[in-house]
Amino acid sequence: MAMSPAIPDAHAAAPARWQDYLQLLKPRVMSLVVFTALTGLVASGGALNPILGAVAVLCIAVGAGASGALNMWYDADIDARMRRTRGRPVPSGRVQGSDAAALGVVLSLFSVALMGMALNWLAAGLLAFTIVFYAVVYTMWLKRSTAQNIVIGGLAGALPPVIGWAAATGHVPLNAWLLCAIIFMWTPPHFWALSLYTSEDYRKAGVPMMPVVAGPASTRRQILIYSLLFAPLCLVPAVTGLGGAAYLAVAAIGGAVFVLLAWRVYKSRAGDTPEMRNDDGLYDVKANAKDARNLFAFSILYLTLLFATLLGEGLAHAPRLHLLASIGGPA
Protein backbone atom coordinates (compact mmCIF):
# COMPACT_ATOMS: atom_id res chain seq x y z
CA MET A 1 0.00 0.00 0.00
CA ALA A 2 1.33 3.44 -0.85
CA MET A 3 2.66 5.61 1.95
CA SER A 4 1.11 8.94 2.73
CA PRO A 5 3.51 11.78 1.90
CA ALA A 6 5.24 13.39 4.88
CA ILE A 7 3.41 16.04 6.82
CA PRO A 8 4.77 18.75 9.09
CA ASP A 9 5.98 17.47 12.46
CA ALA A 10 3.93 18.59 15.43
CA HIS A 11 5.80 17.88 18.69
CA ALA A 12 3.73 20.32 20.72
CA ALA A 13 0.41 18.82 19.65
CA ALA A 14 -2.13 17.94 22.29
CA PRO A 15 -2.40 14.20 23.08
CA ALA A 16 -4.97 12.26 21.10
CA ARG A 17 -8.37 12.12 22.74
CA TRP A 18 -11.07 9.60 21.83
CA GLN A 19 -12.90 12.43 20.08
CA ASP A 20 -9.98 12.71 17.64
CA TYR A 21 -10.43 9.08 16.61
CA LEU A 22 -14.14 9.73 16.19
CA GLN A 23 -13.32 12.72 13.99
CA LEU A 24 -11.23 10.42 11.77
CA LEU A 25 -14.47 8.65 10.88
CA LYS A 26 -15.96 11.88 9.43
CA PRO A 27 -19.21 11.76 11.44
CA ARG A 28 -20.99 14.32 9.23
CA VAL A 29 -20.34 12.29 6.09
CA MET A 30 -21.26 9.19 8.03
CA SER A 31 -24.64 10.67 8.99
CA LEU A 32 -25.45 11.36 5.32
CA VAL A 33 -24.41 7.82 4.39
CA VAL A 34 -26.60 6.39 7.16
CA PHE A 35 -29.53 8.45 5.92
CA THR A 36 -29.25 7.36 2.27
CA ALA A 37 -28.55 3.74 3.21
CA LEU A 38 -31.58 3.68 5.49
CA THR A 39 -33.68 5.10 2.66
CA GLY A 40 -32.52 2.30 0.34
CA LEU A 41 -33.23 -0.27 3.03
CA VAL A 42 -36.76 1.02 3.71
CA ALA A 43 -37.65 1.82 0.08
CA SER A 44 -36.77 -1.76 -0.89
CA GLY A 45 -39.85 -2.96 0.98
CA GLY A 46 -37.90 -6.00 2.15
CA ALA A 47 -39.17 -7.81 5.24
CA LEU A 48 -36.08 -7.49 7.42
CA ASN A 49 -35.84 -8.03 11.16
CA PRO A 50 -35.50 -4.50 12.65
CA ILE A 51 -32.44 -5.50 14.68
CA LEU A 52 -30.71 -6.84 11.57
CA GLY A 53 -31.77 -3.67 9.75
CA ALA A 54 -30.05 -1.62 12.44
CA VAL A 55 -26.97 -3.85 12.18
CA ALA A 56 -26.90 -3.31 8.40
CA VAL A 57 -27.03 0.47 8.84
CA LEU A 58 -24.33 0.23 11.53
CA CYS A 59 -22.08 -1.78 9.19
CA ILE A 60 -22.54 0.77 6.40
CA ALA A 61 -21.83 3.63 8.82
CA VAL A 62 -18.70 1.95 10.18
CA GLY A 63 -17.56 1.13 6.63
CA ALA A 64 -18.00 4.78 5.66
CA GLY A 65 -16.09 5.81 8.78
CA ALA A 66 -13.29 3.40 7.90
CA SER A 67 -13.06 4.95 4.43
CA GLY A 68 -12.85 8.37 6.09
CA ALA A 69 -10.00 7.28 8.36
CA LEU A 70 -8.06 5.82 5.41
CA ASN A 71 -8.71 9.05 3.47
CA MET A 72 -7.46 11.19 6.36
CA TRP A 73 -4.34 9.04 6.68
CA TYR A 74 -3.43 9.23 2.99
CA ASP A 75 -4.47 12.84 2.41
CA ALA A 76 -2.77 14.31 5.49
CA ASP A 77 -0.32 16.25 3.29
CA ILE A 78 -3.16 17.82 1.28
CA ASP A 79 -5.26 18.45 4.39
CA ALA A 80 -2.36 20.30 6.04
CA ARG A 81 -2.33 22.83 3.18
CA MET A 82 -6.06 23.59 3.13
CA ARG A 83 -7.80 25.91 5.59
CA ARG A 84 -10.90 23.74 5.76
CA THR A 85 -8.98 20.59 6.71
CA ARG A 86 -5.73 21.59 8.43
CA GLY A 87 -7.25 21.16 11.90
CA ARG A 88 -7.97 17.47 11.27
CA PRO A 89 -6.37 15.00 13.73
CA VAL A 90 -3.53 13.76 11.47
CA PRO A 91 -2.26 17.05 9.93
CA SER A 92 -2.52 18.75 13.32
CA GLY A 93 -0.32 16.03 14.81
CA ARG A 94 -2.81 14.80 17.42
CA VAL A 95 -3.08 11.35 15.79
CA GLN A 96 -0.28 9.48 14.00
CA GLY A 97 -0.97 8.65 10.35
CA SER A 98 -0.22 4.96 11.00
CA ASP A 99 -2.84 4.91 13.77
CA ALA A 100 -5.43 6.40 11.42
CA ALA A 101 -4.56 3.80 8.76
CA ALA A 102 -4.77 0.94 11.27
CA LEU A 103 -8.16 2.17 12.50
CA GLY A 104 -9.40 2.34 8.91
CA VAL A 105 -8.25 -1.19 8.03
CA VAL A 106 -9.62 -2.76 11.24
CA LEU A 107 -13.02 -1.07 10.91
CA SER A 108 -13.21 -2.00 7.19
CA LEU A 109 -12.65 -5.68 7.98
CA PHE A 110 -15.10 -5.55 10.89
CA SER A 111 -17.90 -3.88 8.93
CA VAL A 112 -17.62 -6.15 5.87
CA ALA A 113 -17.33 -9.35 7.91
CA LEU A 114 -20.29 -8.47 10.13
CA MET A 115 -22.40 -7.44 7.13
CA GLY A 116 -21.64 -10.78 5.45
CA MET A 117 -22.38 -12.91 8.49
CA ALA A 118 -25.40 -10.98 9.81
CA LEU A 119 -27.08 -9.97 6.53
CA ASN A 120 -25.80 -11.35 3.23
CA TRP A 121 -22.61 -11.47 1.20
CA LEU A 122 -24.00 -9.40 -1.68
CA ALA A 123 -24.36 -6.45 0.68
CA ALA A 124 -20.95 -7.23 2.20
CA GLY A 125 -19.34 -7.35 -1.25
CA LEU A 126 -20.90 -4.03 -2.24
CA LEU A 127 -19.71 -2.52 1.06
CA ALA A 128 -16.16 -3.82 0.49
CA PHE A 129 -16.21 -2.47 -3.07
CA THR A 130 -17.36 0.94 -1.80
CA ILE A 131 -14.60 1.14 0.81
CA VAL A 132 -11.89 0.12 -1.66
CA PHE A 133 -13.28 2.44 -4.32
CA TYR A 134 -13.23 5.44 -1.98
CA ALA A 135 -9.95 4.72 -0.20
CA VAL A 136 -7.90 3.43 -3.14
CA VAL A 137 -9.48 4.47 -6.45
CA TYR A 138 -10.64 7.94 -5.35
CA THR A 139 -8.25 8.93 -2.56
CA MET A 140 -4.98 7.41 -3.78
CA TRP A 141 -5.50 7.74 -7.51
CA LEU A 142 -8.26 9.97 -8.91
CA LYS A 143 -8.11 12.84 -6.42
CA ARG A 144 -4.52 13.72 -7.25
CA SER A 145 -4.53 12.90 -10.94
CA THR A 146 -7.68 14.08 -12.76
CA ALA A 147 -10.25 16.85 -12.74
CA GLN A 148 -12.86 14.10 -13.07
CA ASN A 149 -11.93 12.95 -9.54
CA ILE A 150 -15.24 13.75 -7.87
CA VAL A 151 -17.28 12.63 -10.90
CA ILE A 152 -15.93 9.07 -10.88
CA GLY A 153 -15.20 9.04 -7.14
CA GLY A 154 -18.80 10.07 -6.53
CA LEU A 155 -19.76 6.44 -7.09
CA ALA A 156 -18.50 5.63 -3.58
CA GLY A 157 -20.88 8.15 -2.05
CA ALA A 158 -23.72 6.97 -4.27
CA LEU A 159 -23.60 3.28 -3.35
CA PRO A 160 -24.91 3.26 0.28
CA PRO A 161 -28.62 3.10 -0.73
CA VAL A 162 -27.77 0.14 -2.99
CA ILE A 163 -26.01 -1.58 -0.08
CA GLY A 164 -29.03 -0.89 2.15
CA TRP A 165 -31.33 -2.36 -0.50
CA ALA A 166 -29.12 -5.42 -0.91
CA ALA A 167 -28.97 -5.92 2.86
CA ALA A 168 -32.77 -5.90 3.08
CA THR A 169 -33.63 -8.04 0.07
CA GLY A 170 -30.51 -9.86 -1.11
CA HIS A 171 -30.77 -8.38 -4.60
CA VAL A 172 -30.39 -5.00 -6.30
CA PRO A 173 -33.04 -4.20 -8.94
CA LEU A 174 -33.13 -1.14 -11.19
CA ASN A 175 -34.82 1.04 -8.56
CA ALA A 176 -31.84 0.55 -6.23
CA TRP A 177 -29.45 1.67 -8.97
CA LEU A 178 -31.76 4.61 -9.64
CA LEU A 179 -31.08 5.91 -6.12
CA CYS A 180 -27.38 5.42 -6.80
CA ALA A 181 -27.65 7.32 -10.10
CA ILE A 182 -29.41 10.25 -8.42
CA ILE A 183 -26.57 10.74 -5.90
CA PHE A 184 -23.97 10.10 -8.61
CA MET A 185 -25.39 12.86 -10.85
CA TRP A 186 -25.86 15.19 -7.86
CA THR A 187 -22.22 15.01 -6.85
CA PRO A 188 -20.55 17.07 -9.64
CA PRO A 189 -22.74 20.20 -9.41
CA HIS A 190 -22.61 19.98 -5.61
CA PHE A 191 -18.82 19.76 -5.31
CA TRP A 192 -18.00 22.02 -8.23
CA ALA A 193 -20.24 24.75 -6.77
CA LEU A 194 -18.21 24.46 -3.57
CA SER A 195 -14.88 24.36 -5.38
CA LEU A 196 -15.73 27.52 -7.34
CA TYR A 197 -15.27 29.52 -4.16
CA THR A 198 -12.59 27.36 -2.52
CA SER A 199 -10.43 26.82 -5.60
CA GLU A 200 -7.52 28.76 -4.06
CA ASP A 201 -7.26 26.12 -1.35
CA TYR A 202 -7.29 23.32 -3.90
CA ARG A 203 -4.74 25.12 -6.07
CA LYS A 204 -2.36 25.56 -3.13
CA ALA A 205 -2.80 21.91 -2.19
CA GLY A 206 -2.16 20.76 -5.77
CA VAL A 207 -5.55 19.05 -6.09
CA PRO A 208 -6.74 19.15 -9.73
CA MET A 209 -10.31 20.25 -9.04
CA MET A 210 -12.25 21.35 -12.12
CA PRO A 211 -11.95 25.15 -11.54
CA VAL A 212 -8.18 24.78 -11.07
CA VAL A 213 -7.66 22.69 -14.22
CA ALA A 214 -10.37 23.82 -16.67
CA GLY A 215 -11.10 27.26 -15.25
CA PRO A 216 -14.22 28.71 -13.65
CA ALA A 217 -16.11 29.35 -16.93
CA SER A 218 -15.85 25.71 -17.98
CA THR A 219 -16.80 24.59 -14.47
CA ARG A 220 -19.91 26.80 -14.47
CA ARG A 221 -20.93 25.37 -17.87
CA GLN A 222 -20.44 21.79 -16.69
CA ILE A 223 -22.43 22.51 -13.51
CA LEU A 224 -25.33 23.60 -15.70
CA ILE A 225 -25.05 20.55 -17.98
CA TYR A 226 -24.99 18.12 -15.05
CA SER A 227 -27.91 19.98 -13.41
CA LEU A 228 -29.98 19.68 -16.61
CA LEU A 229 -29.35 15.92 -16.56
CA PHE A 230 -29.80 15.58 -12.80
CA ALA A 231 -33.19 17.31 -12.41
CA PRO A 232 -35.13 15.05 -14.86
CA LEU A 233 -33.39 11.97 -13.42
CA CYS A 234 -34.88 12.82 -10.01
CA LEU A 235 -38.36 12.47 -11.53
CA VAL A 236 -37.77 8.92 -12.74
CA PRO A 237 -38.49 7.17 -9.38
CA ALA A 238 -42.02 8.55 -9.63
CA VAL A 239 -42.64 6.43 -12.73
CA THR A 240 -40.82 3.24 -11.71
CA GLY A 241 -42.91 2.45 -8.65
CA LEU A 242 -40.34 3.82 -6.20
CA GLY A 243 -41.76 7.27 -5.36
CA GLY A 244 -45.27 8.47 -4.66
CA ALA A 245 -47.13 11.75 -5.22
CA ALA A 246 -45.21 13.58 -2.47
CA TYR A 247 -41.91 12.49 -3.99
CA LEU A 248 -43.01 13.66 -7.43
CA ALA A 249 -43.92 17.09 -6.04
CA VAL A 250 -40.63 17.49 -4.15
CA ALA A 251 -38.57 16.26 -7.10
CA ALA A 252 -40.35 18.52 -9.61
CA ILE A 253 -40.32 21.74 -7.56
CA GLY A 254 -36.86 21.17 -6.12
CA GLY A 255 -35.49 20.17 -9.52
CA ALA A 256 -36.78 23.39 -11.06
CA VAL A 257 -35.14 25.45 -8.29
CA PHE A 258 -31.92 23.44 -8.71
CA VAL A 259 -31.77 24.19 -12.45
CA LEU A 260 -32.58 27.86 -11.81
CA LEU A 261 -29.72 28.16 -9.30
CA ALA A 262 -27.38 26.33 -11.68
CA TRP A 263 -28.39 28.77 -14.43
CA ARG A 264 -27.54 31.68 -12.12
CA VAL A 265 -24.14 30.13 -11.43
CA TYR A 266 -23.62 29.76 -15.19
CA LYS A 267 -24.42 33.44 -15.74
CA SER A 268 -22.36 34.57 -12.73
CA ARG A 269 -18.65 35.25 -12.39
CA ALA A 270 -18.22 32.77 -9.53
CA GLY A 271 -14.63 31.60 -9.28
CA ASP A 272 -13.24 34.29 -11.59
CA THR A 273 -11.37 36.00 -8.76
CA PRO A 274 -9.72 34.14 -5.89
CA GLU A 275 -11.64 34.15 -2.65
CA MET A 276 -9.58 35.76 0.10
CA ARG A 277 -11.53 34.43 3.05
CA ASN A 278 -10.22 34.76 6.59
CA ASP A 279 -12.43 32.07 8.04
CA ASP A 280 -13.06 28.39 7.58
CA GLY A 281 -16.77 28.69 6.83
CA LEU A 282 -18.23 27.19 3.69
CA TYR A 283 -21.07 29.67 3.54
CA ASP A 284 -19.27 33.01 4.05
CA VAL A 285 -18.23 34.09 0.56
CA LYS A 286 -17.59 37.19 -1.52
CA ALA A 287 -20.38 38.69 -3.62
CA ASN A 288 -19.35 37.16 -6.95
CA ALA A 289 -19.51 33.65 -5.52
CA LYS A 290 -22.88 33.95 -3.81
CA ASP A 291 -24.64 32.08 -6.62
CA ALA A 292 -22.22 29.17 -6.25
CA ARG A 293 -22.74 29.22 -2.48
CA ASN A 294 -26.52 29.20 -2.96
CA LEU A 295 -26.38 26.20 -5.30
CA PHE A 296 -24.04 24.35 -2.92
CA ALA A 297 -26.37 24.95 0.04
CA PHE A 298 -29.54 24.11 -1.91
CA SER A 299 -28.01 20.94 -3.34
CA ILE A 300 -27.66 19.57 0.20
CA LEU A 301 -31.23 20.54 1.05
CA TYR A 302 -32.64 19.08 -2.18
CA LEU A 303 -30.94 15.69 -1.85
CA THR A 304 -31.99 15.52 1.79
CA LEU A 305 -35.60 16.31 0.88
CA LEU A 306 -35.66 13.74 -1.93
CA PHE A 307 -34.43 10.93 0.27
CA ALA A 308 -36.46 12.04 3.31
CA THR A 309 -39.60 11.92 1.16
CA LEU A 310 -38.78 8.45 -0.13
CA LEU A 311 -38.02 7.35 3.42
CA GLY A 312 -41.27 8.84 4.73
CA GLU A 313 -43.31 7.25 1.95
CA GLY A 314 -41.63 3.92 2.59
CA LEU A 315 -42.29 4.02 6.33
CA ALA A 316 -45.89 5.18 5.82
CA HIS A 317 -46.47 2.61 3.05
CA ALA A 318 -47.75 5.49 0.93
CA PRO A 319 -49.20 4.48 -2.44
CA ARG A 320 -46.62 4.60 -5.22
CA LEU A 321 -47.15 5.85 -8.74
CA HIS A 322 -47.11 2.87 -11.05
CA LEU A 323 -46.83 4.37 -14.50
CA LEU A 324 -43.91 2.18 -15.52
CA ALA A 325 -43.43 0.22 -12.30
CA SER A 326 -42.50 -3.01 -14.07
CA ILE A 327 -39.14 -1.59 -15.20
CA GLY A 328 -38.13 -0.75 -11.63
CA GLY A 329 -37.82 -4.40 -10.76
CA PRO A 330 -39.21 -6.34 -7.82
CA ALA A 331 -39.08 -4.74 -4.37
Binding site: H11, P15, A16, W18, I51, L52, V55, D99
Partner: protein
Protein backbone atom coordinates in the same frame (compact mmCIF):
# COMPACT_ATOMS: atom_id res chain seq x y z
CA UNK B 1 2.64 6.29 19.07
CA UNK B 2 3.15 10.04 19.30
CA UNK B 3 5.47 11.54 21.92
CA UNK B 4 3.94 11.98 25.38
CA UNK B 5 2.62 15.44 26.15
CA UNK B 6 4.91 17.52 28.45
CA UNK B 7 2.12 17.83 31.02
CA UNK B 8 1.64 14.33 32.54
CA UNK B 9 -1.84 15.19 33.86
CA UNK B 10 -3.12 16.12 30.38
CA UNK B 11 -1.50 12.99 28.97
CA UNK B 12 -3.07 10.82 31.71
CA UNK B 13 -6.55 12.23 31.16
CA UNK B 14 -6.32 11.76 27.39
CA UNK B 15 -5.11 8.17 27.80
CA UNK B 16 -7.88 7.40 30.29
CA UNK B 17 -10.49 8.76 27.86
CA UNK B 18 -9.11 6.62 25.04
CA UNK B 19 -9.05 3.52 27.25
CA UNK B 20 -12.64 4.02 28.42
CA UNK B 21 -13.79 4.53 24.81
CA UNK B 22 -11.95 1.37 23.72
CA UNK B 23 -13.45 -0.64 26.59
CA UNK B 24 -16.94 0.57 25.73
CA UNK B 25 -16.34 -0.30 22.08
CA UNK B 26 -15.28 -3.85 22.98
CA UNK B 27 -18.29 -4.36 25.27
CA UNK B 28 -20.65 -3.10 22.55
CA UNK B 29 -18.93 -5.43 20.05
CA UNK B 30 -19.54 -8.47 22.29
CA UNK B 31 -23.19 -7.47 22.84
CA UNK B 32 -23.65 -6.90 19.10
CA UNK B 33 -22.30 -10.32 18.15
CA UNK B 34 -24.42 -11.97 20.84
CA UNK B 35 -27.61 -10.23 19.70
CA UNK B 36 -26.95 -10.95 16.00
CA UNK B 37 -26.33 -14.62 16.82
CA UNK B 38 -29.61 -14.89 18.73
CA UNK B 39 -31.60 -13.09 16.02
CA UNK B 40 -30.05 -15.12 13.18
CA UNK B 41 -30.39 -18.49 14.86
CA UNK B 42 -33.53 -17.83 16.91
CA UNK B 43 -35.15 -21.01 18.14
CA UNK B 44 -32.76 -23.05 16.02
CA UNK B 45 -30.18 -22.66 18.81
CA UNK B 46 -31.92 -25.57 20.53
CA UNK B 47 -32.42 -27.59 17.33
CA UNK B 48 -29.23 -29.64 17.42
CA UNK B 49 -28.07 -33.11 18.50
CA UNK B 50 -26.92 -33.22 22.11
Amino acid sequence: MSEPHPDPEIERRARRGRNVALALGLVLFVILIFVVTIVRLGANVLDRPI
